[in-house]
Symmetry: C2
Subunit: 644 residues, 2 copies
């Protein structure tokens, strides 16, 4: 009897093809309902187009066209000007799940799984029974290849239904045309929002969106500079799993442990490699293929006991604080926010994967005060539209006690309420999405921690900003009172006594008893750029220079009754180039200018001036100032310098 | 140049093995961090054990043992008394992702994807480099087979490292032993909660949990009755995708459209089949293999234009209202809630998959009043512990305006606050989980709608319950006032006048002017059960009878000044058997008893009595009463009968 059951059950055991699996579980890929299916299809197509262009150093020009048929059927066409796909790869890339070029490479890219675009083809076939048509051209002087594809889900392989030659004008590119069941009426708004968001974080891309009724939206590129190209790197020893280490050793060509470690991992120089072997107490000349599990385990533990340099961040392509600020400013024009603050964390590692967190907070203006703050989430320059609740960014934000920073938050947990937008961008060689639909980042403690740190930094800046504003406001009131009333009294008294009006400077300084720093930013468009006598220039990236010059004037007035001398620091955005500094600074780094201000007499002022190149109008709209060698309580308009 | 790029890119294109994919994306399977990894491993093992026992009609006895080593390594052993697995299947079931028996069958089961348990083996290997050991015995008189397995992730196949004979006492069963990196200290609580929850919704299972320190927890079975076995069914035409229809037709052995439709779909009898063909305007004798895509499309549309019977719910195994109530009562003993209300929806269909929603609300008692209501989520009798935010049940609850039902909910959206626990159970032949970790149900509109309807029904009951309570309370106060003060006045007046004390019944009825129904429930344990003169018995399922008799007495008093007659309905839990009814009812159905109460004289009362078998003590603790043919405003303790 028992035998019978196990044998009967055994007969039902069967392999499940990955295409069958996802056909059945299409909601996992983001095709759960006709609205989401529309957005997901557009998203997968555009992400692919952007990745392809990036790999070939091409400025992307992408056209998304949607035609709407009866019965909720949409025909979606996405065309790019990328490098194209060679003929014999077309059927695999578009007709096979888990097939791609980016899965095995450790570098930042939008698509990684080799699932997305073939899932769109699969979904189209499942819901409309129609085949997808792909055209691709790889060389200017040759025609494009056109293929009509069906997916055999039992085998997870494409069938080429039709193959033909197509004539295109553009030098190279790829076009996919797929019919799917979709709800255009409901989905339209999300497609538009997605395209808008993706153009914000990919300012080098031009995206054209043609709606079924013929309306055409053009999201223009705002820069001709390609984003820094991410470089492929080797895995980092921190966080590599023991099982992966063993597998790598078994597959390695190295015959010595040291050469294995040096050649297959990043950040493993001679010294570190030997330190690891010594810490593990393992002979550095062992053949990695012959090592036991226990030896690997000891080695694996030794990794964490030795200080190993952080992985190179060349594999990452963060957006950058300036661009984030610009994007947020652009996004929130109508809101006219009080201020925008950003924070960038240094690159970090989880399970061997480098990642970096950038965040921004938009505060005040017309933002509603009594609803939850709006969350904008991005991963590797792709907006995340769904599954906000389970994203680690949402959870990280919820775990901060925002009441300390002036936002409403019942019980000190959860998404806070207040007039703010919180933006998170995570870039990584591998974004740990909670599912194949790539809508939320999984709860990886290392990433959560970095997001928290970034938001805390932002929150402190928000707090200091509000604090500074309040102090300046109070001092200004006092100042205005003094400068209006005292002269009146002096004038009247002098008149009554028939004496000349006395100078009040000394009295005013005595009452004010502060150093007042006024901050003025102006922008000037210069058609012919001056020869860039760049004092500091970071990064090797190509850039079309912005025609705007940002002119910053700091008016430092001594309202104290003794001459003053102190050190003044002005923070500079990372990608700005500094020119024309007055007076001569004591030091310039990539992050700040430092002046030693000497001998400012009572009631006298000093003009501090500098110009920034490489920024657009409005990118830099307020100085972040710090002072040293003076009691910061006497300074209005700058904070205490806490060191670098 | 362009050619070069496309060709260079082509060289990087590669197939990704599904095991490699999930090794890299282990968080998708629920192994994102060492805490969750522990819970997920236990969960996958126990779910598998329960499914195996269910398939073989065996009362499950499951032992979960965890040993904790240094370096956050846990050895987990899960042993069941299921039917066992034949030798040549062991390596596939435990060592291959996407391999299983339940994916291709349309019936309710816990595991469906053929991923879970092999993912545990894969995760163990990845993090500890150790092999999993499986033992399985399929027949009493033969030894068990033991196998040590490694997974070759490049091929997604198991390697048998060791194969041996093992001696077991038990007649059959399976044991898996796997070492994983896990955080026992943090994860312990979740493992315990998971086992507790799973034993609540699987009261037929005995689960023993042995902790590393030797502590043993036994979750005893509370019933010997196996849950109704779910039957495998064919797909239902509503919601089957066009692509699937075409695929089914191409693979069908039927040569005629009619026989194809009748043999491959459920609910397709002769009449419906012909109606569909006629509506589509397609010759019913066509060979399905020769039909065009357009013909299939017309046919597909015709499905939705013809009324087709709902799919059989035999493939589903819901928990049942009584068991839900009992579980919730058990769960909330310490809270002593005011009341527990449940609602069961009829089975429905999404994309051809039958599903059914059951919900419950626990209200009041010591539950905190100013925090969000607690959500308990279950799918196919498995508790869902993570990703609450993105579960469709959470979203369905959030979309109801709970302020109307007396709960706090700022802006009428979101999870409400108040002293309540909301429980949702979805059973389906295919639960559409948002990811392979099976922690949240995707946003399928049909399922969302059913959850909403169920909770609205519950909410109305909550409202009516509160309303009834308030009315009864008010009337009781009035009643007590009258029955205390009036007799006193009468007594004093009579005494003063030297006359006998008058009867006050008529006066009291005149003032009260209501029908008062008092509800009393008692339980009696009978060692020897009476011969069950069951008046109504539903369902064919085997059951060990409960020794408890639920005795319900309804005291109906006429406090009006005229004789009264009306119809009284008492609702009965689905799985109860009714005995000993007094007076003779007019009608009994599976859901209610109906009495015609005649000629109740003023100030007189009628006792209505019935007994219920098949329930445990406390399952039925309050009557749900309705009246007809009388103004319900005059009746305290029953509501207006709205029809069946």
């Amino acid at each position: 009897m028992a035998q019978a059951i196990a044998h009967i059950l055994a007969e039902k055991q069967k392999e499940i093809s990955v295409a069958e699996f996802f056909e059945r579980n299409k909601h996992i890929l983001g095709f759960g309902n006709p609205t989401r299916a529309l957005v997901t299809s557009v998203k997968e197509g555009v992400d692919n187009a952007l990745d392809a262009c990036e790999e070939a150093d091409i400025l992307p020009e992408i056209v998304v066209e949607i035609k709407n048929h009866e019965d909720n059927e949409c025909k979606i066409t996405i065309e790019d000007n990328g490098p194209g796909i060679v003929k014999n790869q077309i059927k695999h890339i578009f007709g096979r799940l888990l097939y791609g070029s980016r899965f095995h490479a450790i570098r930042q890219s939008r698509g990684q799984q080799g699932i997305g675009i073939s899932a769109v083809v699969l979904y189209g076939q499942l819901t409309t029974g129609k085949h997808a048509t792909i055209s691709s051209k790889i060389q200017d002087d040759r025609p494009a290849n056109l293929m009509e594809l069906a997916i055999d889900t039992n085998k997870n392989r494409a069938e080429v239904i039709r193959s033909a030659i197509d004539h295109w004008d553009k030098p190279s590119g790829t076009r996919i045309e797929v019919s799917i069941v979709a709800d255009y009426k409901r989905g339209r708004r999300f497609v538009y929002e997605y395209l808008q968001s993706i153009s914000i974080v990919n300012p080098h891309a031009q995206i054209i969106f043609r709606e079924p009724d013929g309306t055409e939206h053009v999201f223009e590129r705002t820069t001709d500079a390609l984003p820094r190209k991410s470089i492929e790197i080797k895995p980092h020893p921190y966080g590599v799993e023991l099982g992966t280490l063993i597998k790598m050793a078994k597959n390695s060509k190295s015959r010595k442990l040291t050469s294995f470690l040096k050649s297959e991992f990043s950040s493993m120089g001679d010294r570190t490699t030997i330190a690891v072997c010594e810490k593990a107490g393992i002979d550095k000349n062992l053949n990695p293929k012959e090592m036991t599990r226990d030896q690997f385990q000891v080695l694996h533990r030794a990794f964490k006991k030795v200080k190993i340099m952080a992985p190179s961040t060349e594999c990452l392509s963060p957006i950058g604080e300036t661009l984030i600020k610009r994007s947020l400013k652009h996004e929130t024009q109508e809101i006219s926010p009080e201020f925008i603050i950003t924070a960038s964390r240094p690159a970090s590692v989880y399970t061997g994967n480098p990642f970096q967190v950038e965040v921004g907070i938009v505060y005040g203006g017309n933002l509603p005060k009594d609803t939850s703050v709006k969350l904008l989430r991005f991963a590797n320059r792709v907006p995340l539209l769904y599954q906000q609740g389970d994203c680690i960014s949402t959870q990280a934000i919820a775990s901060i006690d925002w009441r300390r920073y002036g936002l409403d938050q019942p019980s000190g947990k959860g998404t806070p309420s207040g007039p703010a937008i919180f933006m998170t961008h995570v870039s990584s060689t591998q974004i740990p999405f909670t599912s194949e639909s790539k809508e939320a980042i999984a709860d990886i403690p290392e990433i959560e921690n970095e997001i928290k740190l970034a938001f805390r930094e932002c929150a402190r800046k928000v707090q200091s900003h509000i604090h500074k504003k309040v102090r300046r406001q109070k001092t200004r009131e006092k100042f205005e009172l003094i400068t209006k009333i005292l002269p009146e009294i002096a004038k009247k008294s002098a008149h009554m006594l028939g004496k000349p009006i006395p100078s009040l400077d000394a009295v005013i300084t005595k009452i004010m008893d502060v150093i007042w720093i006024e901050d003025l930013i102006e922008y000037e468009k210069r058609d012919i750029l001056p020869i860039q006598t760049t004092l500091f220039s970071e990064g090797e990236e190509q850039k079309t220079p912005s025609p705007w010059v940002t002119k910053s004037t700091l008016l430092v007035v001594n309202y104290k009754n003794r001459p003053q001398k102190f050190i003044l620091y002005a923070l500079i955005p990372e990608d700005a180039k500094i020119t024309s500094i007055r007076p001569e600074p004591k030091k310039i780094t990539s992050r700040y200018i430092k002046w030693q201000l000497e001998n400012i007499q009572p009631a006298k002022k000093i003009d501090v001036y500098f110009e920034l190149l490489g920024l657009d109008k409005g990118d830099f709209d307020e100085n972040d100032l710090y002072v040293e060698n003076i009691n910061p309580n006497y300074v209005i308009g700058a904070d205490k310098w806490e060191g670098e």
